[in-house]
């Protein structure tokens, strides 16, 4: 059996045996990324919807900035959050550096603009379609945003999935602000990077398989939901 085959065999053994170390890393990753996506849903989607419906001076500039933030380099966000949370930084007294909370903050800064930008596009397209109807029914700006967020809920799954994909696959920012500390701030991606560099391929492969499975599973669920919604609401 060659080395790669052996590594895969060992990886499957780790997964089959419900290895505690693997489980801890997976759970932390899901918790951190899940919270970041939750913040994206709470703040990013409404922000995007407001920009999609609202017409005010400076809106175009905001849209351009938001779209630019979609490609925000994660290491840059990591450095900014690091500087803010480091002992000499403005939020240093909170003592959050190298904690899962710091990782959530960093991932949220990456995910919220991404989800907001996608939501803005989705809701703006819907607003073009419904503007006359909603205005004729005397829906105000805020109520229109609420109606459109609900109406576009299935399309906005794309934004949620994109946010989740970005959060779960992210390495740079969580490495900088989390420190990749074993059993504390080690996520799947940082662990894969570290274990691969150390030559511990079975753990890296096992985590990689879990990461892929989670993303595929969530995409499958979202696809199923969209198909159901298309049949239900034409």
């Amino acid at each position: 059996m060659n080395g790669l085959t052996q590594a895969f065999a060992d990886a499957f053994a780790l997964l089959a045996g419900f290895d505690q170390r693997v489980a801890g890393i997976v759970l932390l990753s899901l918790r951190v990324s899940g919270l970041a996506v939750l913040f994206g849903m709470l703040f990013g989607l409404p922000l995007g919807a407001c920009l999609g419906v609202g017409r005010f001076p400076g809106r175009t500039a905001l849209v351009v900035i938001l779209n630019g933030c979609m490609g925000l380099p994660s290491v840059v966000v990591g450095v900014v959050v690091y500087l803010a949370l480091s002992r000499s930084g403005p939020l240093g007294e909170l003592g959050l550096l190298y904690s899962p909370t710091a990782m959530v903050v960093a991932q949220s800064l990456l995910v919220v603009p991404l989800m907001a930008a996608i939501a803005r596009q989705v809701v703006e397209d819907a607003w073009r379609e419904y503007e006359e109807e909603l205005t004729a029914m005397r829906f105000g700006w805020f109520d229109s945003v609420r109606v459109l967020l609900h109406d576009c809920r299935h399309s906005l799954l794309v934004a949620v999935l994109a946010g989740l994909g970005r959060a779960m696959s992210e390495v740079g920012a969580v490495m900088i602000v989390g420190g990749n500390i074993d059993r504390s701030t080690r996520t799947m991606t940082t662990a894969i990077a570290l274990e691969t560099s150390k030559g511990d391929l079975p753990l890296a492969i096992a985590l990689g398989l879990v990461l892929l499975s989670v993303i595929l599973l969530l995409n499958g669920l979202a696809h199923g939901l969209r198909q159901w919604a298309l049949r239900r609401y034409a």
Binding site: E129, E132, M137, F139, Y233
Partner: protein, 251 residues
């Protein structure tokens, strides 16, 4: 008191439109249009494409702001715009990705009608437009005729004082047209003033109490329906009724 309960007073009528002007792309779509409407009946707006009929409806609905001129809403007076009491149905109504019932309930949300009452009123109006059996179906799966009936239900449920209908039967089959006309008559019977555009002269004779004939952004003639079709006062209206090609193409 909720907004929908306040729509009975002050009255929106008589509705007086003075010298309304609205331009698009350098062309005067409404060119000093003046019109007065009383509080009862069905008025049909006739006129060639580009006459400004839909623009007039959109202006009355508050979707467009006239460049100049004035709309005086009965007891509201000049310059004031009633928040509720005016509803509009479009030629191609848009339905939300929701159930038929949900789409009707939606129209009552701006008036802050409580959820239970919204549902009850929506079900009642769906019954009257013949869509009660499809209440839980997706609204976007309806046929063209059903969709237009749903749009009427969505407007009717708000108990409007003025209902604006922009070619609601365009491209519908005869049985759907008949159903829509029956509903329009029922809405009128309940005291709603109706202002409707159509190119269907037969429909105008069936539905209208009076006809407003428009051309080039102006009112050429406003007359009771029998008199309009028997003795049109303007040459433009006479040619239009005879089915002559427009004497002045819009392009």
């Amino acid at each position: 008191m909720r907004a929908d309960e306040m729509t009975v007073a002050p009255s929106l009528f008589p509705l007086r439109i003075h010298e309304l002007r609205w331009q698009a792309g350098g062309r005067a779509v409404l060119d000093g249009l003046s019109l007065e409407l009383g509080g009862e009946g069905i008025t049909i707006l006739l006129g060639p494409n580009g006459a400004g009929k839909s623009v007039l409806l959109r202006t009355l609905c508050g979707l467009l702001e006239a460049d100049s001129g004035e709309i005086e809403w009965g007891e509201w007076g000049a310059g004031a715009r009633p928040e509720f009491g005016v509803a509009m149905v479009f030629q191609q109504p848009k339905m939300l990705r929701d159930s038929v019932l949900g789409n009707v309930e939606l129209a009552l949300r701006p008036q802050r009608v409580p959820a239970a009452e919204r549902r009850q009123r929506a079900r009642a109006v769906l019954e009257r437009v013949g869509l009660a059996h499809r209440a839980d179906d997706g609204a976007r799966g309806l046929s063209g005729g059903e969709r237009q009936r749903l749009a009427l239900a969505r407007a009717w449920v708000t108990r409007p004082r003025l209902l604006l209908l922009d070619e609601p039967t365009a491209s519908l089959d005869p049985s759907s047209v008949e159903a829509i006309e029956r509903i329009v008559r029922e809405i009128r019977t309940e005291g709603t003033r109706i202002l409707m555009t159509t190119h269907n002269l037969g429909q105008a004779t069936r539905l209208a109490d009076d006809v407003v004939f428009m051309d080039a952004g102006r009112v050429c003639e406003h007359a009771p329906v029998q008199r309009f079709f028997a003795r049109p006062a303007s040459q433009a209206a006479r040619l239009y009724i005879q089915g002559e090609l427009p004497w002045r193409m819009a392009f």
